[in-house]
Amino acid sequence: MADLRLDEVWMSYSPEGPPVLRGLSIDVADGEFYAMVGPSGSGKTSILKVLGGFVAPDAGRVVLDGSDVSGVPPERRDLGIVFQSYALFPHLTVGENVGFGLRMRRVRAREQRAEVTRLLALVGLPEMEARYPDELSGGQQQRVALARALVTRPKALLLDEPLSALDRKIRQEMQVELRRIQREAGVTAIIVTHDQEEALALGDRLMVLDAGEVRQEGRPAEVYSHPRSRFVATFLGSANLLPATVDAVEPSRIDLGGLPAHGLILPEGSRTGDRVTVCVRPERWRLAGDDGAAPDGLALRATVRSVQLSGQVGECRLDSELGELALTVLSSQVARLEEGVEVSLHAAPDDVHVLEEPAAEPTEATEATAPAGSRP
């Protein structure tokens, strides 16, 4: 167990190639579960390669447990790694797979057996020792990979998209398990994933990575509800992004194409006339009664265009004077929202985020997976 740090790490795969990591710094505390999330090509796996010692950074330091390990090869870094493909040894039994690290360290056979039994119990796979990996389900292989990585009591655990090969139900089950096992083992863990749900569910702390740079870092709930950029807003969950102009700074007043919004928190250093983007999460709209008062935050009227029920929630598309809007409501409320119905929407000041960047298009309502352009 130890803390883990990257200091200003630059890395590229070829001398002429573009850098994959651009002065990246992270600081993971002892016992923390740290989640890195980003789209493919953002440098997630490269970070793990640098941490694991498989690739040397061009510049910067890797600090493990207080000492610089930049020149230390993977076999002497004392890290447990769970690979995306699990990378179990196909010719060894489950017990031999889990005991591999101890065998390499020449631990006595009796101790090896005791540790293997303990770890298999920890990951919930007792009495599977004699099986071979190809006789296990994906979820079971995942647990074996986890037990194998933890058996040597590594200084930290690195997880590379560990759940991406599992189907949805088992994936959610494993998220809970992963969290439990990490706590019980008390090990510092770093997970990289492209799955925002996974990152939000697992991390004590979350870092959003894009093009080799940290875009935002913080507690998952905080990063989700207070995105500081369009990228973070759309990559983690969905967002309504609306173009706006700063009308006044103190007290704040923002103009969304004629519609005013009061009492919002502006980015630092904002000045009157700045072009900004206003971001509202689809599930943060409240369906307000038509009381006529103009509260703080953002209030507007919109017409339901389509409703799509997906289990617990319903996803709605609405037409408004600001263009198309996305609204997510609990399924119990869907009955009220038939096509063509006019509703009043209100978002509290705390749910309306003013982002420094101007909007690219006049209006857009985006989702993380499939951005939908504005259709007036």
């Binding site: 694991g52 498989f54 090869p73 993977p74 076999e75 002497r76 870094r77 004392d78 890290l79 447990g80 790694i81 690979f83 995306q84 493909s85 990378a87 179990l88 040894f89 196909p90 010719h91 060894l92 039994t93 031999e96 591999f100 690290g101 065998r103 390499m104 360290r105 071979y132 194998r148 990585a149 040597t152």
Partner: protein, 275 residues
């Protein structure tokens, strides 16, 4: 019956029965009565038949080991280091063997003849006296057999090495395995099935070889197969040749079974099930 089963019956089972049947006739010629006397004659001369049988098996096995030693690093290099020129290198391994094997044998003849390039080189580094030669020794036969069957072993091992996932090696590394441990505990066991396949492909024809032995081996390098071919072509005793063929066939099968069982005990996980 399925067509494939019929084909197997006609091309493998029936000829094998004929071979056993001919071996039980009294030679020479194939019109004698069934007496089994050729078996008695063979059993009566263990210093000739037994000695040559053992030599054939040992030469075949030694040639197989030699091909593994050369082919293993070759296969590794082909799969891990020459990604771009791989087909070219594979072709270079195979192309010499597209010519007649007789040509290859005579090429070897020139190479190891007294004063030939190989002997000259060995003399140059002080490993041989001028005038020394490998020609007409069992070493010449061993060298020839290993060279002749090398591409088969390269192919068998290449297929096995190519299948090893790099992340499995990374995993071993992260668990503290150094280069030797990774080889010993991961790479080697994972190539055992390939070695076993190579063993069957190389050992079987090598142990039964006779042309190589006749041209390069002299009396020192005479093999069991040489004796069989003489029974057919010179002595004209086909029943004796058939009986000897059965003996060689059984000996090869027993030895392959023994090696397989040994490897299966040494690498239980790598050779489980039908692999």
């Amino acid at each position: 019956m399925l067509p494939s089963a019929l084909l197997l019956l006609a091309l493998v089972v029936v000829p094998l029965f004929l071979l056993v049947y001919f071996g039980l006739l009294a030679g020479p010629g194939v019109d004698g009565p069934v007496t089994g006397e050729e078996w008695a004659r063979i059993a009566g001369q263990p210093d000739l038949y037994g000695r040559l049988l053992v030599r054939s098996l040992v030469l075949g096995l030694a040639a197989t080991v030699l091909t593994i030693l050369v082919a293993w690093p070759t296969a590794w290099a082909l799969s891990r280091h020459v990604r771009r020129l791989r087909s070219l290198y594979l072709a270079l391994v195979i192309i010499p063997h597209l010519t007649s094997s007789l040509l290859l044998i005579y090429a070897m003849y020139v190479l190891i003849a007294p004063g030939g390039p190989l002997m000259a080189a060995l003399t140059g580094v002080g490993l041989a006296e001028p005038g020394d030669t490998l020609l007409f020794t069992r070493w010449a036969v061993l060298l020839m057999l290993a060279y002749l069957f090398l591409p088969f072993m390269v192919m068998a091992l290449y297929a096995a090495v190519e299948r090893i996932d790099d992340t499995v090696l990374d995993a071993a590394r992260s668990l503290g395995a150094g280069a030797w441990q990774r080889f010993r505990h991961v790479v080697l066991p994972l190539t055992v099935p390939g070695m076993l396949a190579g063993l069957v492909i190389v050992f079987t024809p090598a142990a039964g070889a006779f042309v190589e032995a006749r041209i390069l081996g002299g009396t020192d390098g005479m093999m069991f197969g040489t004796l069989i071919s003489e029974q057919v072509s010179r002595v004209n005793n086909q029943p004796r040749a058939a009986a000897m063929s059965v003996i060689l066939l059984v000996a090869i099968l027993v030895l392959l079974g023994g090696v397989r069982a040994t490897l299966r005990r040494a690498f239980p996980g790598a050779l489980r099930g039908g692999r």
